[in-house]
Symmetry: C2
Subunit: 547 residues, 2 copies
Amino acid sequence: MKIAIAQLNYHIGNFEGNLEKMLRAMDDAKAQGADIVVFGELSVCGYPPRDFLEFDDFIRQCRTVIAKITKATEEKDIAAVVGAPSINPVVEGKDLYNSGYFLADGKVLHVANKALLPTYDIFDEYRYFEQANEFKIVTYKNKKFALTICEDIWDVEGTNPLYDISPLDKMLPQEPDVILNLSASPFNFDHANARINIIRANVERYGLPMFYVNHSGSQTEVIFDGGSIVMSPNGNVHDELPYFTECVKTYNLEDVLNGRENREQPKDKIKLIHDAIVVGIKDYFGKLGFNKAILGLSGGIDSAVTAALAAEALGGENVRGVLMPSQYSSDHSVKDAEALAKNLGMPHDIIPIKDIYDSFMGKLQPLFGDLPFNVTEENLQARARGVLLMGLSNKFGYILLNTSNKSEMAVGYGTLYGDLCGGLSVLGDVYKTDVYKLAEYINRKGEVIPHNTIHKPPSAELRPDQKDSDSLPDYDILDEILFQYIEKRQGPKEIIAMGFEEAIVRKALRLVNINEFKRYQTAPALRVSGKAFGMGRRMPIVGKYLS
Amino acid sequence: MKIAIAQLNYHIGNFEGNLEKMLRAMDDAKAQGADIVVFGELSVCGYPPRDFLEFDDFIRQCRTVIAKITKATEEKDIAAVVGAPSINPVVEGKDLYNSGYFLADGKVLHVANKALLPTYDIFDEYRYFEQANEFKIVTYKNKKFALTICEDIWDVEGTNPLYDISPLDKMLPQEPDVILNLSASPFNFDHANARINIIRANVERYGLPMFYVNHSGSQTEVIFDGGSIVMSPNGNVHDELPYFTECVKTYNLEDVLNGRENREQPKDKIKLIHDAIVVGIKDYFGKLGFNKAILGLSGGIDSAVTAALAAEALGGENVRGVLMPSQYSSDHSVKDAEALAKNLGMPHDIIPIKDIYDSFMGKLQPLFGDLPFNVTEENLQARARGVLLMGLSNKFGYILLNTSNKSEMAVGYGTLYGDLCGGLSVLGDVYKTDVYKLAEYINRKGEVIPHNTIHKPPSAELRPDQKDSDSLPDYDILDEILFQYIEKRQGPKEIIAMGFEEAIVRKALRLVNINEFKRYQTAPALRVSGKAFGMGRRMPIVGKYLS
């Protein structure tokens, strides 16, 4: 028996595209001698389909694709295990199940429904799906398969406090030979290890091999890293598929059972984040039908790293940088930005903004009267730049990239409709201290990001001699406090008890909470951590908590 | 036995403020002779607290308030039924319950947990809460109370396909005398009738009186209309509390049992939407600590209606209108806007944008070369206006109001970072055809919105002689198609079958789906319908469905 894994990059709602891709994978797997090819969770429609699931029309289209793949199993003489919603025949409860279809010989042999429905962070599965209440296995070519969907394997031995059942415990009495798991398990920088650990816990408990199939590619902000796993019953990693790339690969079940292989890929945090963001940019553009980006280059680290990542995703020639110095910009800003553009092979323009700023102030000054220069005039510069970038974006069909990092997004250090403009936030889930590490990684083979950009003190350059440290704690300290509050959900009491200065902690947390209104209107940020701003972190704007 | 209802306007996370309000309501109820005062769902922390619930610190603060109210029941000699999260003592399952606390004589007499956890539209309750598995009643002063939380009463006689239990069925064998329901039931324009119908279905099935307590006031985009209900066992509405206002009112249980009263308030759709939006603006400003608004006045219907609603919420003198004509603005635009400002007693300014537009074009034209005038130049005008408004907003501490309506938000007829700027979208859940009805309602006692503003054809005035109808179907038709797609979740097939022209349907649905990226970055819109854009409608940006 030969089993193939199809680790594919789906496109939500693009039924024709997904079908075509899956049929091609069936051909590839067949050519590799496979008896069965296994796809990911909700592969037919892409993951997460979100409220598209509430449209009957969308569900009908899923069923059409299932019917076509079912037919193809006969024509191509290979079984296929695919993920798709199925309709709950019982009136009570949610209308749908999140299902795995075992298709063979032109027939639906079996449908397994997901039992553990993640409803936390970015996941909303109980919004749409009823949980499974039946646990049957399926036999094909004399082998018995336990078919599970993603989270179903995450409560082995009752270790997961979120759930009170473990589907494989229910299937075990039926004596399966192989565990299949159809996943759509989003990337974060320490998730690959967690994944291997949970698969190992299952394999060791049940004494069975597991074929764990993940998606690759990105859907808006949610990135799938692939890294599908074939694990032998002895807990060895028979194979771990490459990260962030599509792949169809076939395994001889006998070899997997032997457990003689044990190969894992290295898991370096900064490399993983780098690769995730590159694929995130690539797919955001590709799936929306764009191929060119534009961004403002300030000479600072955030725009430099954003440009380098975009250049890697789209090609330097497809990323246009715009330098927009004001009277407060330092000389080195323009030089550093020009050096970067040269290193990346990016087209770039220089548009001084003083005339535009003056034309705004010419209208506003009479209304402002004697009120002193303040954040208003700083924002005005950022917004003039936003308008210029959006003008070029509209005229030439670029997507504007937002260059804000997670530390800035957290404390609201950015101008709404100014530097917070953009269709995609590239670094919005990367703390400032990690942006520096990304820069070093990008420079691993030689200088791409200019040395001066990395080593000068961070500044918004919106007033004379401004430094970030004028109004914010040092990023070393700030980022640790933010990490405890955002990722670890610690309160002020707990964070102060860790040894941070009380005034700084209270200020940082207050800034996070009062700036919810800015994040609400900012582009989706590519998610690389376990808790990113956006769909996975839902906060009231008018809340008055720690604020 | 006298029972008081406290229909209050809470503030999410403002524990001190909520506590103070609740203690005052206890005093008021006591002064009215009440034995018990009943508050709304999660009254201690406000609803919806969203991911604040994931912070132990937040839950600790809820418990502190509960302890203080418990103590007050003894000091003030009145029992209190309050809503708050409680901790699930079992490791497996979610960490919290959504609970009702029956507090009396300085003690926690009883804690009832919510069993039906809405997880659809704007609701995410299964994200945080475990469902109740125990159904006990509580006795106080010889009366037995069945304590339910909001959705718990929405599956009477198995009529709700979402759930398979009805908590009151489980409690009935314990022979309760009175049903209490602690709700946080958000407004939409036809919800008040649905509410009365479901309460009546319960009362008639169980033969018991019900005290149904709702919140009033608004939390970001979610508006609570109050309208708390006391219903007699015969199905008569003994009382319906006023809409959109706080109220503490006491009832003699004997009178309620008699069932001699039957009084309901009128439920006029446009009046309800009007009043909801006014309270929505008022609370958005009040809860964020602002009292002044600014907006652009184009002379068109949307900005006029927005201004009138804001003037009602904040006072005309606290709403500043800015007229920003361009070379494409018609003469009547300025005149109509000036007439509006005069009618509302609003301060207003006129800032022609031609110089600013020219200064942008001076920089961009060399890069645009010979490319023709297109949407880029239209957007540029809208964005110049956005920057001016934000400049005034920053300098003087205004919140900028977004004036886009739901039809425009749906099809993406608006400029990101231009007219889509603003902290709050006032009309983002009101279709264009209803905006006209709101205008007529606002004019019910005399002209507030100028006649010409209502009767001229809608135009963005961003190019010569532009009309909305140049690029969009007539709003009469468009709004019906949008309503079927957005509110009713009908697909193209179903909508075409209703008799709409296929090309128009496909174009409208495509526009809705490809403009998700704009809505993602737009302010929260006050929710007045059963399906608003924002937190209750979650769509992928990179999806390719009907697009």
